[in-house]
């Protein structure tokens, strides 16, 4: 039997293992697994599986250099699928616009604007975000205030730089 070209092996392995990752991630989600941790764990697992698959299929039939090509392509294809998948996940989880439409739908499609502002531009939503930022290690409580951690400071500096470079204004 003729062996597949390394690039074809890379595409098939990357696609198959990415589908496996999405299935594992979604099933874990339904079972109540932690979102960010489970996402990274399942993705890391799928990367390892993919690399083992590519190496075992390509190394024997094509040699080292084509295996490196296939592995590089597979990693990049998988990473590309991941960076497109993750924003979609976070839209489902955190988008205020999406949540606004969901609340409106639950309330029969219409709601006083004031109530929506109370809900989405009030203390509760800020408290929630601050708690998430603390849990993620970007802020640390300091009395009634929240102080940037070194990790939070680096992230804030990086995005403040992008905002200044692109002249985006205050944003947020």
């Amino acid at each position: 039997m003729t062996a597949w070209p390394p690039a074809v092996t890379a595409v098939v392995a990357a696609a198959a293992w990415f589908i496996a990752f999405v299935l594992a991630h979604v099933l874990g989600w339904r079972a109540g697994r932690g979102q960010a941790g489970w996402l990274l764990l399942t993705y890391a697992g799928s990367l390892v599986g993919m690399l083992v698959t590519v190496a075992s299929v390509t190394l024997g039939s094509h040699g080292l250099l084509p295996t490196i090509l296939a592995a590089a392509l597979a990693i990049l294809i998988n990473a590309c699928l991941f960076v497109v998948y993750v924003p979609a996940v976070y839209t489902v989880l955190t988008s205020l616009s999406v949540q606004t439409m969901l609340v409106l739908r639950r309330r029969g499609g219409s709601m006083p604007e004031r109530e929506l502002y109370d809900r989405f531009a009030g203390r509760a939503i800020l408290q929630d975000r601050l708690a998430t930022l603390v849990a993620s290690g970007y802020l640390v409580p300091d009395g009634t205030r929240f102080r940037l951690t070194p990790r939070g400071r680096s992230l804030a500096r990086a995005f403040a730089f992008v905002k200044a470079l692109w002249k985006l204004g205050p944003g947020g």
């Binding site: 339904r30 990049l76 960076v83 497109v84 606004t100 975000r129 929240f146 102080r147 947020g172």
Partner: protein, 178 residues
């Protein structure tokens, strides 16, 4: 490897063009500006791929992707993912990231901190938390997902379809509905 090289080069070109465009042509329609740049760059990339040899004059035969058409597809795929998952997301986070703006508010404050009461009035470099939601409401109104009716906000057909889709997704994922 040609696919990786060309897509990387064109992504850098796109980032440079986006930077120049944002700095020279201030607009409220930045996503539209980015989409136009993406389309131009994708076309240029396809032309560049056709105009260059498979081995770029330097690659060993083992690093040339076979079949050829797959290399062109991968080139465009890598570039598109770099745009939709990279450049566009970077813009969205920098311009719309709620949590990121809180971190930047802390960075910009002399004390290096934020607190709840101050954020209510001064979130977003002094604009306040209502301003953050104003922007979202304005975008939903402009996109015709919602409409204003007296003191109410009302779901439009497009918004209702989207809400329906997200309700199903959240139910499937066993997430609480807001």
């Amino acid at each position: 490897m040609k696919a990786i090289g060309l897509a990387t080069v064109m992504t850098i070109v796109l980032l440079l063009l986006a930077t120049l465009t944002f700095r020279l042509f201030q607009s409220e329609q930045r996503v539209r500006q980015l989409a136009i740049l993406y389309a131009i760059c994708a076309l240029l990339l396809a032309c560049l791929w056709l105009a260059t040899p498979d081995d770029l004059g330097v690659l060993p035969p083992a690093l040339v992707v076979v079949p050829r058409w797959l290399d062109l597809l991968l080139t465009l795929f890598f570039f598109s993912a770099a745009f939709f998952g990279g450049v566009l997301q970077l813009y969205n986070l920098a311009d719309r990231g709620f949590s990121l703006r809180i971190l930047i508010d802390a960075l910009e404050h002399p004390s290096g901190t934020v607190d709840l009461d101050r954020l209510i009035g001064e979130y977003g470099g002094g604009r306040g938390i209502r301003w953050m939601y104003d922007k979202r409401v304005a975008d939903m109104l402009q996109g015709e997902f919602i409409a204003r009716a007296a003191d109410n906000l009302v779901l439009c057909r497009k918004g209702n379809s989207l809400a329906d889709l997200f309700t199903r997704v959240r139910r499937f994922l066993r997430l609480e509905l807001p």
